[in-house]
Symmetry: C2
Subunit: 334 residues, 2 copies
Amino acid sequence: MTTAVPARTPAPPTLHEIQAPVRDALARVSEELRRIVTADLPLIDAVNAHLLLMKGKMFRPTLTLLASRVGEAPAPHDVTLAAIVELVHLATLVHDDSVDHSTLRRGMPTINALFTHQISVIMGDFLYSRAVVELVQLGDLDVLRVLANATNVMTVGEMRQLTALDALAFTESDYEALIRSKTASLLSAACEIGAVAGGGAYRDQLARYGEQLGMAFQVADDLLDYTADAAVTGKPTGLDLREHKVTLPLIAALRTMSAASRREVEALFATPEPSDDQIERVISIVAEAGGLDYARRRGAEYARAAEAALDGLPDTPAVAALHDAIAYAMDRSQ
Amino acid sequence: MTTAVPARTPAPPTLHEIQAPVRDALARVSEELRRIVTADLPLIDAVNAHLLLMKGKMFRPTLTLLASRVGEAPAPHDVTLAAIVELVHLATLVHDDSVDHSTLRRGMPTINALFTHQISVIMGDFLYSRAVVELVQLGDLDVLRVLANATNVMTVGEMRQLTALDALAFTESDYEALIRSKTASLLSAACEIGAVAGGGAYRDQLARYGEQLGMAFQVADDLLDYTADAAVTGKPTGLDLREHKVTLPLIAALRTMSAASRREVEALFATPEPSDDQIERVISIVAEAGGLDYARRRGAEYARAAEAALDGLPDTPAVAALHDAIAYAMDRSQ
């Protein structure tokens, strides 16, 4: 049996390219973010300074700005909304790192590591409540509803993750529910509020696009934990396994692996601090049992659903960039 | 020199009496609170069940309901708003206890003690974001603005508390800023949104009343830590000193105490876990230096300002109860 050799695919788009149609607005998002979080208290400003350095690639605000430009109509408040989306994301990261006792994020010390656990909890509350204050200031109840719901859904997702007592009994549908609430909900909200800012014409499609993109994005992220070097991710490969987190590659692999392999996986999950060897061994088991291939296929399905959601949208530079964003999200798994 | 013997004052009003004009609505607040926090996740429901047991005397929702009835106009959503105020309060308590590593509140185990620290952080986020979702549902931007601002101010207050590096350098004006943001802001918001629900006619007065009441309430609470038995407060006397928290009685006493006494106070603050003897000794020093009397005087001043804010309001049962609420808040210090 022969398999077709796939044609060499072009290099996937970079985030820099995707951001081209909104480059100027994105620069103003950073300024706006700084304005919103400023407080008359040195400790808050010290934490802010670090957070603004940690500020990542601005993927979520990029989506908001692109979504607001789909119909090329005027989009008032687009920059403020994009900054608020990033702010909600930052607030979530601060609490996540605190809850997970993470010490590094994007190669930089986390707030709980650099300051204290107490400061992380209160600072997360400060950032989120500032986001709400700013949203109320804009006075758009539609946008408020979308972001408030997304934030609440994210907390339910976090609780879901804390609930899993028997990690290895976590099913694919548990996993889907988890990443839908933890990741896809905010990406969907980022796109939806952009659409609302841009006049609301493509709201449902862009919300659906954001959700499917978010699913593809998280599957790719979870794959990366099995495939990437520490230098690429800024975090050690196999970190999820080290922390006994079960993601799609392992869920899929558990369905087909041998009893002996399963015992090795169970041994890792029964070890409070698994060794590097144990982790390397389970990564191999997951790859051999087809877990990575399965997760790649599922990721590609979500990507196709995201593509489909863009059907019928006008042929504008923003829509082209949203298409590219799908390939960008997927490429993280290569 | 003779001092006048004060006439025997009548027993201060009980909370039960204050709640008389809103008793029926208050019962519905509990139901409403239950409805709002319910989620489709067993862990969330388990935490909720405990929180609803812990639920205190419902002082804040009582204020909202009373404020909504000042003019005896219809007050739509009064019960939901009162429930949301209590929900915001509960969310704050959950994070406060987690940040302070408290194990008991109102004689019951805290969420962080009964569950985990992680669950406390996420559960606080869940409760607060549910409150925002519910407020958005009501669709009143005025109410949203008041509660969002109060919540944000509360987080700044918490950060302020974490900032104090040299506890004994904490001034009365630092203390005022702290309790204004930590306590008075939410009591003020509770009254203000009640006023908005009741038609808005007495909004500014009731916001001012709530703020001054909140100041009196917190000063009384801080006095209680110096004067009450564990059986009354459900927490050991001198807990603030044990945790190196500086409140008004000590701030005032430090201004007049002898150098020798000050050295004893400094010794307590330099001891990570002060002994019961040390605490008892500093409580005596504070009392002898007039710290308790000073705090009682300041509390009475806030109480008079709260009374003054009610001037000119109609002569309704709700307003009578708001007057009584001042005496109730003060009585906590007796």
